[in-house]
Symmetry: C2
Subunit: 146 residues, 2 copies
């Protein structure tokens, strides 16, 4: 994992700084789709000098490199996901967490691309599908936080 990110950055002509590696590791090791602020908090003990600004810039760089995917869940913040493949998310209206849905995003992309091409003539490259509702825990009435 460490090797992978270092290698990928260098191959793309970017420097593999400790900050970048650490930020990537945080994202790769979680399924919580954290926002910039959250990544910053998680790294604060390990990198006391790390600035939030650097987190923003790094996440932007990662997004441009396709290492990371930006998620707009309508909360007014950007969350980040280290899984860059098109996939679906469910945003829980009770606890606020964003969970991955195990559904073939590629299939959706292909079907929608074809449909939209035929009905309207538009070209589709990517999609963002967010489901709003209640995660299992919350719809079962279990207490939860986040």
């Amino acid at each position: 994992m460490y090797v992978t990110i270092t290698k990928r950055l260098r191959e793309a002509g970017f420097r593999a700084t400790p900050q970048r590696v650490a930020i990537y590791m945080i994202l790769a090791q979680t399924k919580a789709h954290p926002c910039a602020e959250r990544v910053y908090e998680k790294l604060h003990s390990e990198f006391p000098s790390l600035s939030l600004n650097t987190v923003y810039k790094t996440l932007q760089t990662f997004e441009e490199l396709g290492l990371v995917r930006r998620l707009d869940t309508g909360e007014g913040i950007c969350r980040y996901d280290a899984n860059p493949a098109p996939h679906i998310h469910l945003a829980c209206r009770a606890c606020g967490q964003v969970v991955d849905i195990d559904y073939d995003g590629k299939y959706i992309l292909e079907r929608m691309s074809q449909y939209v091409k035929e009905n309207g003539g538009h070209e589709v490259c990517d999609f963002n599908l967010i489901l709003y509702g209640y995660c299992r825990a919350c719809s079962n009435g279990e207490a939860s936080s986040n």
Copy 2:
């Protein structure tokens, strides 16, 4: 149309002020999915005293009443759509416009709800599907501006 919005506001226990009616009319008469700022601009000649603040508050009210749907297209702004039914949008990466895709959103909602219920046990109420790509004009290389 005018009657409709007035009636619906009153039925919900809200006052049908000229500002509210005007803001709704703007949204109902366009397919451009304007943001708050844009709505404000469009009404500035008719309502010189209208404040951007009121536009924000009104759009929020409309959203809560289900009269209007909020769209996050990843531009960092909120766009609004007077069609509250679940449907699909395509955001053009060239000209920036957001176009409606004529596809049965209800069908997607039902299918995804069932899938997610069975695989994960989550409850789905709504969805937001944005396709990213190029609108017909832009993918044909035609000049265009928003």
